[in-house]
Symmetry: C2
Subunit: 329 residues, 2 copies
């Protein structure tokens, strides 16, 4: 059976401290590429395969664009986002569906409650139900439907790994990672997701994060526009008060978390981090990535320290702060 | 700084599989004692310290009883439970507070939403707010207040580690574990919690789980009554549809999970498991404990297989089951 790194290939990346006692630890693998794309730091088995989950979205969004989906600005960010389902996010997903000329029912992602708790509570008070638009991946799915329309592909069956859209996405993924995909899995939202070495994911994200919108290559131009759009609209890729949004708006990084403890991040100078927490927890992923970027000199320690105060890293005891989740990299 | 086992002391206990790809792993330590209390299986660093978190509650509840708190049946279960905050749970906590002659405001645990989602949603529709009674540890806190009243101790400051109640609890903890506590931390609810080797926690839980209500020793009689009460009222220790409740009602075990991946379980024959998932996740804790009890012959494989269908172990992709959380012990 195909599988991710073993426990013995993982190294400690963060600890959870309560009243001065380290009670839990997160292990995994992490890789840092310098602005030229050369690995400058590796921790754990970075050449072992992982499922990138939503950290694959920038690659999937670019493939939708190269398949003809006309996506710019906030619509492009929603295509690459794991949004928190606020009304503002959902309005943009509707715009993409309108542009595709399809109904909400065409979305292949399952119905879900929004991740944003205020929005969820409002829906509960209004006796609302989970729906497909509120699901965090609905922007990606709307973009996939738009790409199908632009390329003349049937929107039925667009999530099948052998559908022309998914074959095209896989080709773009392999071009950007420079590696053959190692296995195909069904992501939480129903879309195909591909296993790849963590180092290959880092390579692809580095290419995207350092692309210019003035590149002679269409894929690179699109990548440059995507990163520019994410930095211009950080609220859209995640949500108010959430980790990717906070990291992007306060530090100008490109950041995209994925389920099961995956994180990719590109500093303004092009330094790139990719990491996988082996146990699948995301609670330490952002702080580990930011700390690695400080360690390598790509972000200023004081700026990151300021950002960390906005992340949910404190450990509570009786309503008081009694500890923290802290990186050990 | 005092700390739990290291990454290199932890061994794989479970994996998360999606579409045939193992994408995450949980490592930790586990120990199994036979009905006589002799260790018969150890995995990882079982003599390293852990914070037992809510798996300490059976010991704390017994200390409240030996301090004079008159607790029986469902009240005794609430004293040792991490309840899901339904109206039925809260009514019993109120009964304990009434018996102590104190108001809800005397509870030292912080306000919280109930863990039971239907109850939470109903509160949100009624524009309710988090409160102390709904907090999962409110039964333990009510029992502590009742113990203070019974012993003539001030209820103010009952969470201070130097308060007579907490000194008494610590003494009972050390008697049951047979070990000096290694560090004192503030638990999520504000109560003191003590670091101890995982093997010492297992020893204490084995003593409790094999005690008879007809023992010549008062502490053992109380322990026998506690375990009997938990088996008679499994809904009260956790909540409808939740893991400890399901395991107890379907298999007759005594089970008590704790935050950050701790689990203790005693089979009807007295075989005892204690485990700590190093990363703090509880999603695989119950299935690992049950699997160890099957492996050692204390539970029937077919019975456990039936119970596992009721636990949230399936991995979803597009609303379909595409994998599972499965033990590797």
């Amino acid at each position: 059976m195909a599988q991710t790194l073993s426990v013995s290939d993982a190294v400690e990346l963060a600890v959870v401290e309560r009243s001065g006692f380290i009670e839990s630890r997160h292990a995994g693998a992490a890789i840092v590429l310098d602005p030229e794309g050369t690995p400058v730091l590796t921790l754990g088995g970075v050449d072992q395969p992982i499922l990138p989950r939503s950290s694959l979205k920038p690659l999937q969004a670019l493939a939708c664009v190269t398949a003809g989906a006309a996506l710019e600005d906030e619509r492009l960010v929603l295509a690459t986002g794991s949004h928190s389902g606020t009304d503002r996010h959902v309005a943009i997903v509707r715009d993409i569906l309108d542009a595709a000329g399809v109904e909400e029912s065409a979305l292949g992602c399952p119905p879900a409650w929004p991740g944003d708790s205020a929005t969820r509570d409002e829906l509960i008070r209004e006796l609302g139900q989970p729906d497909r638009l509120r699901m965090n991946c609905s922007g990606k799915h709307a973009a996939m439907l738009l790409a199908c329309r632009a390329s003349g592909w049937d929107t039925d069956g667009y999530l099948d790994p052998s559908h022309p859209l998914q074959l095209h996405i896989r080709e773009v993924v392999e071009r950007l990672t420079g590696a053959k995909t190692l296995a195909t899995a069904v992501d939480g939202c129903g879309a195909p997701v591909y296993a790849m070495p963590l180092s290959a994911l880092a390579r692809a994200i580095h290419r995207i994060g350092t692309s210019s919108e003035r590149s002679p290559f269409a894929l690179h131009r699109s990548a440059g526009l995507l990163v520019q759009a994410v930095r211009a609209h950080p609220w859209a890729i995640d949500g108010p008060g959430r980790a990717d949004t906070i990291a992007i708006e306060s530090l100008g990084v490109f950041a995209k978390g994925g389920a099961e403890g995956v994180m990719v991040m590109v500093a303004p100078d092009g330094t790139t981090v990719a990491l996988k927490i082996l146990d699948g927890s995301g609670r330490a992923a952002t702080v580990i990535a930011l700390t690695l970027l400080v360690r390598i000199g790509a972000l200023a320690a004081a700026d990151v320290a300021q950002t960390l105060t906005r992340l949910p890293l404190t450990i509570s005891g009786g309503g008081q702060d009694v500890g923290s989740i802290r990186p050990t990299v």
